[in-house]
Symmetry: C2
Subunit: 306 residues, 2 copies
Amino acid sequence: MSEPVLISEVGPRDGLQSIASVMATPDKCAWIDALHAAGLREIEVCSFVPARLMPQMADASEVVRHATSLPGLTVMALVPNLQGAEAALRAGAHKLTIPVSASEAHSLANVRKSRQDMLREVRSIVALRNERAPQAPIEVGMSTAFGCTLQGVVPADEVVWLADELVQAGVDEVGLSDTTGMANPAQVRQLFGRVRSAIGERTGAAHMHNTRGLGLANCLAAHDAGVRTFDSSQGGLGGCPYAPGASGNVVTEDLVFMFEAMGIPTGIHLPKLLAARSLLQAGLPQEPLYGMTPLAGLPKGWQQPD
Amino acid sequence: MSEPVLISEVGPRDGLQSIASVMATPDKCAWIDALHAAGLREIEVCSFVPARLMPQMADASEVVRHATSLPGLTVMALVPNLQGAEAALRAGAHKLTIPVSASEAHSLANVRKSRQDMLREVRSIVALRNERAPQAPIEVGMSTAFGCTLQGVVPADEVVWLADELVQAGVDEVGLSDTTGMANPAQVRQLFGRVRSAIGERTGAAHMHNTRGLGLANCLAAHDAGVRTFDSSQGGLGGCPYAPGASGNVVTEDLVFMFEAMGIPTGIHLPKLLAARSLLQAGLPQEPLYGMTPLAGLPKGWQQPD
């Protein structure tokens, strides 16, 4: 029996904040319920950002309160700053995830802070967590870890340096994100290997994009490098705004199919996961959904593990 | 410097015979020219089958004659039987590829022959080749090697047995095809590993489909298992008729991007490969083309190796 992997669903946050439509709160909750019923045990349900900047996330507290009623679910919220962290902990989020850019150019463009400023912000969030909710893990998703559309190459040494700084700042898990779809499997194996050498078991999730079709190959490479947590998005929700039709996030359905077919347990019931798609589509009738396994269906003779 | 890989383009045969439209001969030739100009050095240009069964391939001899005028190109033709092999060698094909099913049920359905009957057919093609064109290699693409939509599981022992029989019959290369999109990376590593143990350097191409999104991950797994030849199709041409929108063959553009990004030389010039797509589209204006790299474009800072 292979060691299980954890699929961390990011669609309700990463997916929904990337599209123009705003999903109604009851639809979000029904979709999260269906994901939970399919066996998802970690879901990034929202982002705590000002509603005027991101109306899709205006109901963040309500969604967190609903999601925390689901048994066995780790409810994760994205928080870009201390204020967001305060709101997330107040709403009862179980786990916080902070986006920190490996690329200085992307950091300045995305959050208008240098990486050093973000490290200071992370330290203040850790201090808040230690005081208010010491049981709540803090994850950093290190964006642009594999390359940046603004500055191009991101040196591996800087990724390793930043991972180390983040752990020293008190972060529990540091994952690597291929924000721009520039990663390749050789790089993924090497970079996760180096980060693991530096920070060991604090190495967090692989957050891969499918921008150039390499999403699953990069997840396989990350798995080879010892990664056991993978971010993905149902229906590949969260497209690349600069490349219409080019999906962004790895598709949860295809990722779960890959691992289950390999005999690597995900704890997810694939037919129920495929069924959850209809709740997502019902809440966003105009939005295109991606994924090959949903189109092709499960292979003849497919046995859902118990 | 990594060992190079050979990308064997199958679009002009596998792609074009899977669609309803018939591409005009001059359009086929112009597309093959563009693929050659991009650096492709093995192209499966046609199938020698009766024109009444497959009107898309009625110009097989003419296409072979054109393609053999291109310097440095290995011109491959698919031949399902002795009669096809005679016609292909007469036209001047450099290399023959014979489809042999690992699944007995698929063999009977596809070519109305048992596997034993196909082995006899292969022996007669080898005898013909030895007499008429001893320099022409014969490849077998073993279809349904990873599973079959008719019979379900295909035992690995039968794949290894058949590979061994084919080599004994005089075949130069035996590749494994995921005809039905059922392969997973763990299986790919294991099965190619076993076949390589049995037939060594006669182990041929990985022919992967992207039916459930695992095409590139399976190619990566095959590469890990020592495979150095990969079949793919420009634009993913050659869809799954039973799953609209679910592309069949691995997309050449994405596959080349993956290997080149990993620093594994393909000999292919990516911008020219992307440009060849417009010739394919010009010849088949109604046909949808797939591929993520063409949609997203090459990453910022992409350096085409010399």
